[in-house]
């Protein structure tokens, strides 16, 4: 649990200006699933899971996910964006307990 919120972002190794780049991102998160009591009723509590993922590049949102508990533990998310200028790609994960985890990757051209 201590690793909760660790984010990894992967970009292809060589990017040319104008390329459509596919990004893989991973976050360490328990993504709690629904629990039931002995009678099979759903326990009503504030489950801890990621419900929003936002990726921004050059100040613009390139992809935004709204997620539910049907997403796996330690989820990966894949999306793409058009790399026009060098800059930073930031991915922010928000969970239901107000946690905010951020990962960044530098977009540079070789």
């Amino acid at each position: 649990m201590s690793d909760i919120g660790k984010v990894r972002v992967r970009l292809p190794s060589s990017i040319k200006p104008g390329d459509v780049v596919r990004v893989r991102s991973l976050v360490i998160h328990p993504m709690e699933r629904i629990e039931r009591d002995s009678k099979g009723r759903i326990i009503d509590k504030k489950y801890l899971y990621i419900n929003r993922v936002v990726a921004t590049y050059l100040g613009k949102t390139v992809a935004a996910f709204d997620t539910t508990q049907s997403v796996s533990e330690n989820p990966t998310f894949v999306f793409s964006f058009r790399a026009t200028d060098p800059g930073t790609l930031t991915i922010t994960f928000h969970d239901t307990h107000g946690g905010k985890y951020e990962g960044t990757a530098d977009v540079k051209f070789v």
């Binding site: 459509v20 780049v21 596919r22 699933r33 629904i34 629990e35 039931r36 009723r41 759903i42 009503d44 504030k46 419900n51 590049y57 613009k60 949102t61 390139v62 992809a63 935004a64 996910f65 709204d66 997620t67 539910t68 508990q69 049907s70 997403v71 796996s72 533990e73 330690n74 989820p75 990966t76 998310f77 894949v78 999306f79 793409s80 964006f81 058009r82 239901t96």
Partner: protein, 162 residues
């Protein structure tokens, strides 16, 4: 305690009964404030009706590519990816991609909002599947048309718990 008019046992029994009654009454009532808006405990038909209403859905099998394993040995982690052939221009792009797992207790898995900046309408994630069933991808384009595709996935060990 002895001369108290209500014994401890009596009080506990009454409280228990009240609790049961109250939770029974709660069921049809609106969900509590922290309940999730997107993923709710419902059947897939209810979910689709809630999100899309009566909007017509076209078959998107020519345009939308939904990639999933045929057999998922571990339902707790199933990779899914959705690729849509789209020019992704401001006038014609994919606005949102929904992934819905029919047999999950929370059928809506995620909703991805994209824009022309994405360059390509392709998203992926790792999801949970409770049991063997259809997984759908529903794509909303910028002109409002909905395209749907579905695929059956066999799940060896379910991963949804609860």
């Amino acid at each position: 305690m002895k001369d108290h008019p209500v014994s401890r046992r009596r009080a506990l029994v009454t409280l228990g009964a009240l609790g049961l009654g109250a939770s029974g009454l709660m069921l049809p009532a609106p969900r509590p404030a922290h309940a999730q808006a997107l993923g709710q405990h419902e059947t897939v038909d209810e979910a689709l009706k809630r999100i899309f209403g009566a909007r017509p859905m076209k078959d998107g099998s020519g345009v939308v590519k939904l990639d999933l394993p045929l057999i998922a040995e571990n339902g707790a982690v199933v990779p899914v990816s959705v690729d849509v052939t789209s020019p992704m221009t401001p006038a014609n792009h994919v606005k949102t991609i929904y992934v819905v797992a029919d047999k999950n207790r929370i059928p809506v898995v995620f909703r991805a909002a994209l824009g022309p900046e994405a360059g390509q309408a392709a998203v992926g994630a790792t999801i949970r599947l409770g049991e063997t069933g259809d997984v759908r991808a529903i794509v909303e384009q910028s002109d409002g048309t909905l395209l749907a595709v579905k695929r059956e996935v066999k799940v060896t060990v379910g991963g949804c718990g609860g």
